[in-house]
């Protein structure tokens, strides 16, 4: 590669980073403000709270205090109702977006975008920020023309209209949905400094739909029917083979997401929900469920979504997503504001059940402090954790480690790499490390860096 090329990539990378920075500056000003004050409150001399000191660092800063006179919002009327019949975020949040890395895929129809986890709060992903993954572009399907068929090894092949499906008893559940390639770019080392890139191929929303077991029983499974092969109505006609044990456990056919109809990007009008399992199995634009005696051995379960091991063998029929966790604040999108008290926040999830514990290390895994949960702890859903940290300003290595209710403890990266190699592509579910640079009077700019052991 020529030097010019290297330079060009460096510029691209810098642009991508500064984009993320702007996200922080504009989008997360409120969070940053909170931290600024807590920092001041725990001054280095350890004398405890001192109101004067708390305010002092900003006393001379007009940009902090000059809004204490009535601004434009107090002097004129705002806009009236129905200005936006479908509401949108404040224009000041416009940097909070799904983003993609154009070098990942040759076109935008078979591509992926990542959710800006660094800008999210709680455990629900807004519909407009839900990550996207298409294998053949997004179809715009008229629900009146859409059907779901259940056929194959069943007693009564059935065809359902969307109205038929809504007549069934409904179920609403909050689940995470994660592309098994989440974090794939990090197998051989770190690439980019943002949690959007390292963990953004996932989202967590409330789905409403019909239990798949209800639908399958309605059609009547023949004894030799052991697998279902769901299929999408899009150009990809995506299929996976799912064993009856998973289909009858807790799957459902969803028509709603966060209280409204599914978005087109997520499978409008219906998609399969396979809680805890690879998002690739959550077939969108679901049109057909074939009950079968054997798995279909289709492309998405043989050529792709299988994991190459160092000895040249490959793992197939990988279904459940392992427990995983990540610190979203502070993370490389943010800058430390100086020594003092911080409330480390992040997300933990498990494809096999509820999160039981999250521990956070500040010293690269030597010692751990248990975090508490600030959200409901739900089955196969994101769980938001938080833990207090007094930062003395020295270099620190932040890691989070989840233990789920099955007793599985999230492993460190060197252990996972030694077992699975680096050519897996999928299921990179080991811990990540954020290196907090030493403060040194702000010399290092409060940098937080994605590093890998």
């Amino acid at each position: 590669m020529t030097d010019q090329n290297v330079e060009k990539v460096a510029v691209q990378t810098e642009e991508s980073r500064s984009q993320s920075r702007r996200t922080f500056l504009k989008g997360s000003a409120a969070v940053a403000g909170g931290v600024l004050f807590t920092k001041a409150a725990s001054a280095a001399d350890g004398a405890g709270y001192d109101a004067k000191k708390a305010v002092a660092p900003y006393a001379g800063k007009k940009e902090i205090t000059d809004v204490l006179q009535d601004g434009a919002a107090r002097k004129s009327l705002g806009f009236g109702v129905r200005k936006y019949p479908y509401g949108m975020p404040s224009p000041f949040e416009k940097e909070v977006q799904r983003r993609t890395l154009e070098w990942l895929t040759p076109d935008s129809m078979a591509s992926i975008t990542m959710t800006p986890l660094q800008s999210l709060h709680g455990i629900i992903t807004p519909n407009g920020l839900h990550f996207e993954r298409f294998h053949g572009g997004v179809p715009t399907i008229n629900p009146d023309d859409h059907r779901l068929v259940i056929h194959g090894l069943v007693e009564r092949p059935l065809i359902f209209t969307m109205d038929d499906l809504k007549r069934f008893p409904s179920v609403s559940r909050i689940h995470f949905v994660e592309c098994p390639a989440n974090g794939a770019m990090e197998w051989k080392g770190v690439q980019l400094n943002s949690v959007q890139w390292t963990h953004g191929m996932m989202s967590c929303v409330e789905y409403t739909g019909v239990r798949l077991s209800d639908l399958l029983k309605e059609a009547g499974i023949k004894p030799e029917g052991k697998w279902i092969i769901p299929e999408g109505a899009d150009a990809a006609g995506l299929t996976r083979s799912i064993p009856l044990e998973i289909a009858m456990d807790d799957c459902f056919v969803a028509y709603a997401q966060n209280g409204e109809a599914l978005r087109r990007e997520q499978g409008y009008p219906i998609r399969l929900v396979v809680p805890g399992c690879e998002a690739n199995m959550w077939v969108k634009y679901l049109r057909r469920i074939q009950v079968h005696d054997v798995p279909a051995q289709h492309r998405e379960e043989t050529s792709k979504y299988t994991e190459l091991m160092p000895d040249g063998t490959a793992q197939r029929f990988s279904w459940y997503m392992e427990p995983n966790s990540v610190i979203t604040y502070p993370s490389p999108d943010f800058k430390m504001q100086g020594p003092g008290k911080y409330y480390i926040r992040g997300l933990a999830w498990s494809g096999r059940g509820k999160v039981a514990h999250v521990d956070v290390s500040f010293d690269g895994g030597k010692n751990w402090k248990e975090a508490h949960f600030t959200s409901p702890v739900l089955d196969k859903a994101w769980t938001r954790f938080e833990v207090e940290w007094d930062w003395d300003g020295s270099e620190a290595f932040l890691m989070s480690r989840v233990t789920d209710e099955t007793g599985y403890v999230q492993p460190p990266m060197p252990q996972m790499r030694s077992l699975e190699g680096t050519n897996n592509v999928y299921h990179r579910t080991a811990m990540v490390t954020w290196r907090v640079h030493a403060w040194e009077d702000g010399k290092n700019g409060g940098m937080i860096e994605n590093v890998q052991y």
């Binding site: 990942l104 390639a181 029929f317 007793g407 052991y453």
Partner: protein, 354 residues
């Protein structure tokens, strides 16, 4: 899970160890003493319930698989044994089909899943059909049912096909511009025929390219997939038809030097390629013996809180300053995936595309 009875896991498991130890020294009538194939605790479900459902807890796994339960790749052999309660493998993985349509299952030790399936399905005696939806005949599904499975069910009649040479023409017309005339890849799209070794000797070297010949376990997948989705811009094209898709499949298999018998006979240009030839080749896909069912969890660590062992700290040897960093490019240090970003290599995350 399991009505949250606060069992103290360690104590419960310790008791179970004692139980199985005594059972091993003689009596074979106690449930705790029975072993599946003489290797695994037959009362695994009981052990798991006693441990409050923590079936992936290190102590629970060792209570069921034995103290020597390996934690790494070395432990895979046991996991590939269908009798192992933690195995995803199925007893009859060779089902007598054309070449062994491999199956996997949810491991028996995932007792919570099986309890749920029993409640929702096998033991659901109260279910009454609601009568929603409209019954249809299987025949009316002919247009939609495009699935071809690993046994070849769903393939077109053997009269449908064309010679490999004709197939090559169709391929060049509809596929070559993205996948290369000889399957070598183009414009960033996946190559279909490469001869790369899949074994990793250097964890930081570029990932091997996975293509039909060196990676795909089934030939049936190829016909199913390209008829289902290709050409990318006009999928499932009627002007190509089953015969055209069959021809493309033949040409791609020929480009990958897939044999069709024990003698290694390869496709000739004038071979009429149809479902029968395809099924012959389905038995000789080079990589088909190298797949195994999901073996996770292989890793089962302790939840250590203070002064953790070096294997769990930093670089795995206790050094927290031995880390890799991203983007050192202006300094001249290489960046990962640079060829992808420069459009010199196919897009992807160190592998052949998404």
């Amino acid at each position: 899970m399991f009505n949250t009875k606060k069992t103290f896991v360690v104590a419960a498991v310790a008791t179970l160890f004692a139980g199985s130890a005594s059972a091993m020294s003689g009596s074979s009538d106690g449930a705790a003493g029975d072993k599946i194939d003489g290797k695994y605790a037959a009362n695994y479900a009981e052990i798991i319930r006693e441990a409050d459902g923590k079936y992936l807890d290190k102590a629970v796994i060792e209570a069921i698989l034995g103290k020597d339960a390996a934690h790494g790749r070395d432990g895979l052999e046991g996991k590939l044994d269908p009798a192992n309660p933690y195995s995803f493998e199925v007893d009859d993985s060779i089902d007598g089909g054309n070449h062994g349509n491999a199956q996997c299952k949810v491991p028996a030790a995932f007792v919570e899943v099986h309890d749920s399936v029993n409640a929702n399905f096998y033991n659901d005696g109260d279910f009454v059909a609601r009568g929603f939806g409209t019954p249809i005949s299987e025949a009316s599904m002919a247009k939609w049912n495009i699935t071809v499975d690993g046994d070849g069910k769903g393939l077109p009649d053997p009269s449908v096909g064309m010679t490999v040479e004709e197939g090559a023409k169709v391929y060049v017309q509809f596929c070559g511009m993205c996948h290369g005339e000889f399957g070598e890849g183009a414009k960033g799209y996946l190559p279909l025929a490469v001869e790369e070794n899949l074994v990793t000797s250097d964890f930081y070297a570029p990932a091997p390219m996975k293509a039909v010949g060196n990676y795909w376990p089934y030939a049936t997948t190829l016909f199913d997939y390209i008829r289902r989705t290709m050409p990318f811009w006009t999928p499932n094209a009627p002007h190509i038809g089953d015969a055209g898709y069959m021809g493309m499949t033949g040409y791609i298999l020929q480009s990958n030097y897939v044999p069709m018998d024990d003698e290694g006979t390869e496709l000739e240009d004038d071979t009429f390629f149809n479902s029968e030839v395809l099924m012959k080749m389905n038995k000789y896909m080079k990589n088909q013996g190298n797949f195994f069912c999901d073996h996770r969890p292989v890793i089962h660590n302790e939840r250590c809180m203070t002064n953790c062992p070096d294997t769990q700290v930093g670089d795995g040897k206790g050094d927290i300053h031995n880390y890799r960093q991203a983007r050192k490019l202006p300094d001249g240090t290489p960046q990962y995936n640079v060829p992808q970003r420069m459009h010199e290599d196919p897009p992807g995350v160190g592998h052949a595309g998404m």
